[in-house]
Symmetry: D2
Subunit: 486 residues, 4 copies
Amino acid sequence: MQPWLSHPFDDDKLTEECGVFGAVNVQDAANFVALGLHALQHRGQEAGGIITHSADRGFQSAHRFGLVRDNFTSAKLMETLPGSIGIGHVRYSTAGSKGNTAIRDVQPFFGEFSMGGAAIAHNGNITNAEAIRKELIERGSIFQSSSDSECIIHLMARSIQRTHAERLKDALRRCEGAFSVIAMTRTKLIGVRDKLGVRPLVLGKIGDGFALASETCALDIIGAEFLREIEPGEMVVIDHKGVVSSRPFERTSPRFCIFEQVYFSRPDSIIGGRSVYETRRQIGVELAREAPVDADLVCPVPDPGTPAAIGYSQESGIPFAMGIIRNQYMGRTFIEPSEQIRNMGVRLKLNVNRALIKGKRVVLVDDSVVRGTTSLKIKEMILEAGAAEVHFRIASPPTMWPCFYGVDTPERSKLLAARMSEEEMRAFIGVESLKFISLDGLYRAAGEAEGRSKSTPQFCDACFSGEYPVEPSDMIARGFELKAAE
Amino acid sequence: MQPWLSHPFDDDKLTEECGVFGAVNVQDAANFVALGLHALQHRGQEAGGIITHSADRGFQSAHRFGLVRDNFTSAKLMETLPGSIGIGHVRYSTAGSKGNTAIRDVQPFFGEFSMGGAAIAHNGNITNAEAIRKELIERGSIFQSSSDSECIIHLMARSIQRTHAERLKDALRRCEGAFSVIAMTRTKLIGVRDKLGVRPLVLGKIGDGFALASETCALDIIGAEFLREIEPGEMVVIDHKGVVSSRPFERTSPRFCIFEQVYFSRPDSIIGGRSVYETRRQIGVELAREAPVDADLVCPVPDPGTPAAIGYSQESGIPFAMGIIRNQYMGRTFIEPSEQIRNMGVRLKLNVNRALIKGKRVVLVDDSVVRGTTSLKIKEMILEAGAAEVHFRIASPPTMWPCFYGVDTPERSKLLAARMSEEEMRAFIGVESLKFISLDGLYRAAGEAEGRSKSTPQFCDACFSGEYPVEPSDMIARGFELKAAE
Amino acid sequence: MQPWLSHPFDDDKLTEECGVFGAVNVQDAANFVALGLHALQHRGQEAGGIITHSADRGFQSAHRFGLVRDNFTSAKLMETLPGSIGIGHVRYSTAGSKGNTAIRDVQPFFGEFSMGGAAIAHNGNITNAEAIRKELIERGSIFQSSSDSECIIHLMARSIQRTHAERLKDALRRCEGAFSVIAMTRTKLIGVRDKLGVRPLVLGKIGDGFALASETCALDIIGAEFLREIEPGEMVVIDHKGVVSSRPFERTSPRFCIFEQVYFSRPDSIIGGRSVYETRRQIGVELAREAPVDADLVCPVPDPGTPAAIGYSQESGIPFAMGIIRNQYMGRTFIEPSEQIRNMGVRLKLNVNRALIKGKRVVLVDDSVVRGTTSLKIKEMILEAGAAEVHFRIASPPTMWPCFYGVDTPERSKLLAARMSEEEMRAFIGVESLKFISLDGLYRAAGEAEGRSKSTPQFCDACFSGEYPVEPSDMIARGFELKAAE
Amino acid sequence: MQPWLSHPFDDDKLTEECGVFGAVNVQDAANFVALGLHALQHRGQEAGGIITHSADRGFQSAHRFGLVRDNFTSAKLMETLPGSIGIGHVRYSTAGSKGNTAIRDVQPFFGEFSMGGAAIAHNGNITNAEAIRKELIERGSIFQSSSDSECIIHLMARSIQRTHAERLKDALRRCEGAFSVIAMTRTKLIGVRDKLGVRPLVLGKIGDGFALASETCALDIIGAEFLREIEPGEMVVIDHKGVVSSRPFERTSPRFCIFEQVYFSRPDSIIGGRSVYETRRQIGVELAREAPVDADLVCPVPDPGTPAAIGYSQESGIPFAMGIIRNQYMGRTFIEPSEQIRNMGVRLKLNVNRALIKGKRVVLVDDSVVRGTTSLKIKEMILEAGAAEVHFRIASPPTMWPCFYGVDTPERSKLLAARMSEEEMRAFIGVESLKFISLDGLYRAAGEAEGRSKSTPQFCDACFSGEYPVEPSDMIARGFELKAAE
């Protein structure tokens, strides 16, 4: 009897590390924040936190491990978070600290300053955080967490500016990397995106109040109207009088994360004026054009592959079918029943629709291949159920480089595509065919009719291309080697 | 700040009350039972229990509220359940006791008899249980639960037969209604279905051992081979020597529950040699023939409506799309954020893919209409997102009568279709059109090419037709009125 | 790192197995029951239960492992137990089932009868329970617990009498052994003691209502007036109209348990018109007369030895001192720090007052010697702290026989006094002197000026004398050998 | 049904705020720390924390609300705290934050410095902490707790010294007030007492290792040898090589807290070479001389009054008796049963030994009078039980001033003795007589044969005399008025 500490599938996906949400000038802000975080739960399931402010009780906070629905739904807890302004954060642990996260690593972070308290919640990654931390410790700061985000609040504490917003600008100008930051003071909600705009941040209106969120789906859940995206390099300061925008950083061409389009963002969110679902369906259409195949059924690997599979079916004319069924009651761990059974992990989560698949030539559409372990197991399940042929179609290009901008990626040596060619991967997985969408195809599906601009790519696609728009200085100091110039 | 005690959607579905699973002659039987129950979790989420037997520890049991994954995955708990034989049960509370279920109502039930202990797990409903209970109490039996299933073990205790299997036959011959029962002694696993075979029960083989389960998907998860369905009116007694079959009840025409096909069973289960998914897709095809409409998109109400929506799309040629997205982290309760927001309940679970739906004529395919509250809310969401037209297509006939055979149904006066005609329902929900599949169409989709036989229907369809194959005597004693003869 | 599963001291005491409490015709009876059980916690710490009845909610129950203060103090739980009548029970596990007690073994037990429900709580032990259980199972009763007390409710269920009280009489006339039973119906509170009156039961008045309790200290805590003891062989039936007494059993000379006087009962309880504390102080006086010694200090082994130590000091003139201090925050388990430390168990609970003891001749007064392990450890602690001489004085005669009337005793071979003479025990423990009070001295201290009557002893003292007033028939069937006739 | 949020008795005692313990060069240091804290539990029951260091895992910590026995006894938790060095802390909340303590207020506190991590645990109170905190925040430090003790670690972070010990000296030289501090680095255990030595700190030896503890009883529990007290104004730095002592503060006459002698310290601890129990017994002797009375019984208010009651009995010749019995299963909260019962609070904890007290003239010995509420209730209980006369004798002088050195005291206006003369108090409580020991009597009992030195008192007795050895500057800034010069 051996417990499973983690699900194999969870290990074989890139995972977003954070979602952020803030609301101001609304009654019982904490409830809005909890709902917003619930809608953003796909961006981080390990832990969540909320901080609010009210005249009576000052700043109050709650940080909890586990899902929003399991923590921030208790009337008893929510009553400890009064006030009309609040921010929150959901997080996924980074590779290094997985399972070792302390509750003090859970955001938002709070600091008491001479002009009053402030809290911050950060989505992204500060790529020079280690250097900043070392310097601050030498000067007498005491860090409470192992999070890169804590640098921001210590830099604010040492700024000589007079307002929280100016101190936040000071702090972020010192930071490199990717960040969408939400901050709050007693009366103001602040939102900032780095100059490249790698991570998303959107603005909504609800009654007389405002909300900031990682994605539009979090505005929908509270019934807020989606106003616009915060622009790359923009700071907004919001209170009961309205929204004031400024531009603290130098201007440059934006590089939004293209993996948000492929996998991270929810399909019902809107990015760049377009439904993420539609972009993904279009990826399926492009895939069907780039990599057609003669087959009987197109089946998604549930649930992320569904929109692309629909697109592939529509473009190819091959019928769409739910050949793999997902168990909606899946949890994280289970006891392995004995040596008699292999591949239990997959069966706990997915089951093949045997009567449907038997004797068929099946196109399986998945969002990405990371380590390749999932693809192997799914192939085995499908063949065991009697499929005649298996063809994998992948809705993203080969993932060959780690992300340093807020996504949890295995080290390079663990990435299948960093070690094998497409044909080697096909043979390794053991299927009739395996095809990835091209980078240009992906850009087209994302609305760039001309494909990827070689000179200044329209997105950050470092995980596919190895071209990092911001040099990851901490990682280089630790020995990471950039792609050799061609 | 008001907690929601239950989700509006959960109230507006018929819910299966039980799933059962047993294994014999396997190592660590409890692990198999836990996995099997996990696969059957859709049949009951309120509580679950497992009983095992080993030479060292005798009979051991664990009964817990909550999901299998949250209870029966702890190595500490599972180690208290040793042995190579075991049975388990997942349950949903009945309408009356909802929220008041005591742990002693959770099956399996155990009794010590003079020839040794035995445990039972029951899916279905004994329609004369109240009469039996009254009689047994007068004769000195002490009931521990409010469950109808407890009658069975007390009847066994008073039987004068010498073996557990014979006593179980004695007991069940006294019972009316619907039952698939799994029982265990120290060495034998027993399975029985009532003579009509209203509830499912299947037999599988795993290594040198055997398993009994409500559905084939529970065999798949443990890697067991599906051998056959237990037949209506059949008892099987299984030990390390093999399976012995007998026929304790008089023969009659079977009446399997057609709602298992429409909604209860998992789409990847096999019933009557056919995938449930395929039957549901075929319902969509029949619906498209019976009730065509000119529209832009076919969208399922997720997740149950998906197969029928695919079938409707394929038959009609209207593109299939995920116009409504389900939040996979949904829990049961949430704090309502304030009066500002209406219909929060739906938004916690579902979100409309606004960019996709806007300006479109949408066909929404749902599995059933019970109270009608869900349909109302979904219509509002879709219209608010800007749909041009909404057409509901329902994958079952109008639900007009309560089930007394193991399904939790609202009382008749709460069923929308018991109070309104199809046109009245359309007007009430406020959509362009609303169509239910016909009974004959449903039978065709379920494999009966000629449709429903008027004289002896091939299924139990009392919830649609009001024709109860077994008279619900306890309910009639309480004043329930059968449909008047025509 | 090895956890301690139980404290060595807990293993080296005889432990009472139960306390019972009931109240009728009072507002919020459950609160009175909880308070009464809290005052009786010394009679059983493993688990407790309460059942109440109200017109609105019928019978409601709660059974919990752990202390009363940790369970029955939650407003949320107590609100589920409405009504003006209720009974409760605290239990200690018996030797056999220690650590294996299931929640279904926790009393009160409830049964639904044709004339309405009833619940019982039992202090004592039915010495022919195994024979009764076997017979009832053969006739079709299903037992839920491993408790001897469950026989009573099944016997009631099979009685043909028309009232609960008459059925209880029927049931108890079939039972041998020791019992103080409290029962409740919808309106009546019933109390019964066996004809020997081995276990205590007292009656109190509170406002317009009444209470029954194992000891008077439980009346004090709720502010009830102590009316009288229920007499041996008496049944009282109490409702809003008052108390009705009857005598269902044949009369005989009473044999109250003398160990209640020595150790079980709380020192502030009143038995036979006298404070238990005063009886224990008088035991110390008798001990000083029977076994004087030249010494510097008299120290109790805390806390049970304190009253006798005070008596010994007063009679002998040797100063009383707290030479051993008890840690009031003691729990049940602790991690052993390493091999470096021996006798940690004692140190967790007790610490020697080193500066006081050093160089002194010390008389240690303890209540009893069971296995002798405690005495050994205390002697070591005292010597290590530098005492010049150690003299043990024991406030009870040598414990040589197991109790079968509701006290948890080690088997005979584990009792030190069953294997050794007084001098052998002294040498084994390794002290200057060791003296037990004589049986006659104990009877004198308990108010019998003439000492123990050889012909018909005034108390049950089977644990000291081996003379069992009721033949323990189940145990004899299992092979237990009575003391040979002299 | 109203829950009691706190026990009236708990409100009517002065409470020590902290106990500290550290061990170095021992195997599994965390186990020793847990045991030491368990022995010091009387100094703080609200929460506890332990930090250890090991080469493999670095610094690890656990902070928990509740008792040591309920948290730090789990093998699972203790295995997360490996290493041969560790420190711990138990705390009681201060008046202001009661019930609002956050887990981040629980010590030990940890900081990462450029030369490595360090942790501190503090017993006492920094009287200029507010001023220090304000200054540090202005310079960019971020505080995590509301504790005065956190100043110390921030001051260390900003020190320019090269070693942790030197930085700690720097930090503490900036602090005013009372402190016994234990600190740890990766390899060194450090102990410091302020120059007056207000709070205790002792040094012990265990095997090849050493331990520091608030009291000697914590050395006893782990079997450590008591070496000596850390002297007022001394710092010791301990590693595997031994103990190095230094004197960082200027010398002055020590002023140990005399209330440690009266109430806080455990009776089996040794202070100034003498058992605390013996000092307390001697207080009883002095009281009998100063305030004799003609009576039948001397009874302690359990448990703190016991040693003084024994002394009073021995000096006066009046028999000692346990007239009030303490319920050893007392918890913190209980449901109040109804309006029918008054004074339930006292009854939950104490019960009068009615048969003993009735008709007697009783001397009650208690340790102190704070608000007077306890004395009132005890008097009522004793009279209700039929006592003929009640005489209170108090083992400390009237408590008239708040403590600012680490003890939780009500504000001055709540102290009975600050508002009434001795005779007024007697009349208020309603007893035949009420007498406090004199300051000189107390000093004599504590070993100062000449009594209190007017010029330089040998102890800190500010709570009785209003003479504060260190000016409480934060409190004066908030408006506290010192006693007017006479």
